[in-house]
């Protein structure tokens, strides 16, 4: 488990890329008050989803606009075909905590 930041450091509509203490970069989003975390690298080609456009609980890849559902990691349109791995997040004492999943994406 790692501490991402204080909750006020990630306001709604914002995203962060975590690279320290994780096996592969993780993107953390505040989608209208709900915090989500997924693997940061798009499953299509080489782009960082933390740089993407957040729309509800979906993030649009900044390179070729594949859309991923942050709740499940599933892509909803081409060109991505495989899901991104999702990670558990919780908020405790005003801090966002990240619980990294291991193994294959669902």
């Amino acid at each position: 488990m790692i501490t991402v930041c204080r909750i006020e450091e990630l306001p709604p509509g914002e995203s962060l890329r975590i690279t320290d203490g994780v096996p592969a970069p993780i993107a953390v989003f505040n989608a209208d008050g709900t915090i989500y975390a997924v693997d940061d690298t798009c499953t299509h080609q080489d782009a960082s989803l933390a740089d993407g456009w957040l729309e509800g609980c979906f993030v649009e890849c900044p390179l070729h606009t594949a859309l991923f559902d942050l709740r499940t990691g599933m892509p909803t349109c081409a060109p991505a075909k495989t899901p991104v791995r999702t990670h558990q997040v919780s908020v405790e004492n005003g801090h966002i905590l990240l619980h990294i999943s291991v193994g294959e994406p669902a």
């Binding site: 995203s15 080609q45 960082s48 993407g52 900044p62 606009t65 081409a78 060109p79 075909k81």
Partner: protein, 396 residues
């Protein structure tokens, strides 16, 4: 409509099949493709694939599950050579005839060649997987080759960058004083051009090519000013021509591409065109020009599918055209259209660090008409949504 035939089995063709199915079309679909490969992604051909980071399998645009869902009949390794619009049939090079109700022209573009290259080995163009495989073999031959790239457009610049990463000695020869000036405007094009020198690649500007030297294998490039550049590998990246030769005499109007309305409809009912081959008026740029970019092929596919199924020209979304390019580890992203007189302003980052976002403003209202980013995807993706067509801002 009971049977639709798509000619060209690449990004535009496959995307149109996807859109036809998404729109609820459940009739027969046949896709005819000249290449023997199932649809694959071209952008990595000058980037990760050429470098050797990914193999051909990673380039596939579709997969088995999707293939099954799309239920199309793929006729690969076959070229369409004729279209009879009166009796609605296509003729293939093998002589086979296909009857069809609707036709999607998605035959893309082919690289322009330079005279004098025909009889020499070692002179490459880059469009197909087979081209990329041949160039990759030539660049990774086990010694540091001398590479001359002719043309500093996006593909030329990407090949130069990848060849450099592979350890080659690279010279780029460009006819214009400032490469990519038309796309990026002079000031920003100069910054992008400086990536070559930053990375130890020579860029010769305002330089024409007179011919090649060598008996069977190329040994050098003769410049218009008489200089000779020794070369083991030459890559010609001087632009493309729309692949429309097969449409000669068919009644489909061709003039630098298949001439279409904004809904991708041609002059012939039931025949639409998409992707690099299609010349449609663009609602954002206001220009009636072909757009040779990946996103354009996917955007137009939706419009073309609707037009074909409804019989009335569909209205395309007026979103800013977008493309990207990866050069020397720098991701370049560009959206919108830069009219003459648009002024770029750096809104974030630092030009010296090759990491910045510029917004181009135009007209009295100084409206944002285009955005360019080097290694700054996040702000770029916010700004690209705020762009407005220069045509409407000019009037306002």
């Amino acid at each position: 409509m009971k049977h639709i035939t798509v000619v060209g089995a690449s990004l535009a063709g496959l995307s149109t099949v996807r859109s036809l199915r998404a729109e609820g079309y459940d009739g027969a679909v046949t896709v005819v493709g000249e290449e023997r490969h199932a649809p694959y992604d071209r952008p990595p051909l000058s980037k990760e694939f050429l470098l050797g980071d990914v193999d051909a399998a990673a380039l596939a645009l579709g997969d088995a599950d999707e293939d099954e869902a799309l239920a199309a009949d793929w006729v690969l390794g076959e070229r369409a050579v004729g279209l009879d619009t009166a009796d609605r049939s296509l003729t293939l090079a093998s002589g086979r005839r296909l009857r069809t109700d609707g036709v999607v022209i998605a035959t893309g573009a082919s690289p322009r060649a330079l005279p004098g290259a025909e009889h020499l080995t070692g002179i490459h163009t880059l469009r197909t997987l087979d081209d990329a495989q041949a160039l990759r073999d030539a660049l990774r031959g086990g010694f540091a080759p001398r590479v001359v790239v002719i043309g500093a457009g996006f593909i030329g610049a990407e090949v130069a960058s990848t060849a450099r990463r592979l350890g080659a000695d690279v010279t780029v020869v460009e006819a214009a004083e400032t490469p990519l000036e038309r796309q990026l405007g002079r000031e920003m094009a100069e910054i992008v051009a400086s990536l070559h020198a930053d990375n130890g690649v020579r860029l010769l500007r305002g330089t024409g090519v007179a011919g090649f030297t060598g008996d069977s294998a190329v040994t050098g490039v003769r410049l218009a000013d008489g200089r000779l550049l020794p070369a083991d590998v030459v890559v010609v990246g001087v632009g493309v021509r729309p692949t429309t030769d097969w449409l000669a005499g068919t009644g489909v109007r061709v003039d630098d591409g298949v001439v279409c309305d904004a809904g991708c409809a041609t002059d012939v009912p039931g025949v639409v065109a998409v992707g690099d081959v299609a010349r449609c008026p663009h609602p954002f740029t206001g220009r009636h020009a072909r757009i040779e970019h990946w996103s354009n092929a996917t955007d137009q596919a939706r419009t073309a599918a609707r037009t074909l199924l409804t019989g009335a020209p569909a209205v395309p979304p007026a979103t800013a055209p977008y493309f990207w390019s990866d050069q020397y580890g720098v991701r370049i992203q560009m959206a919108g259209h830069v009219p003459a007189g648009a002024v770029p302003e750096i809104v974030e980052g630092d030009v010296e660090e090759r990491s910045f976002v510029a917004v181009y403003r135009y007209g009295e209202a100084a409206s944002p008409v285009a955005a360019l980013a080097l290694n700054r995807a996040k702000l770029f993706n916010r700004l690209r949504r705020t762009l407005a067509p220069a045509t409407t801002t000019a009037v306002a």
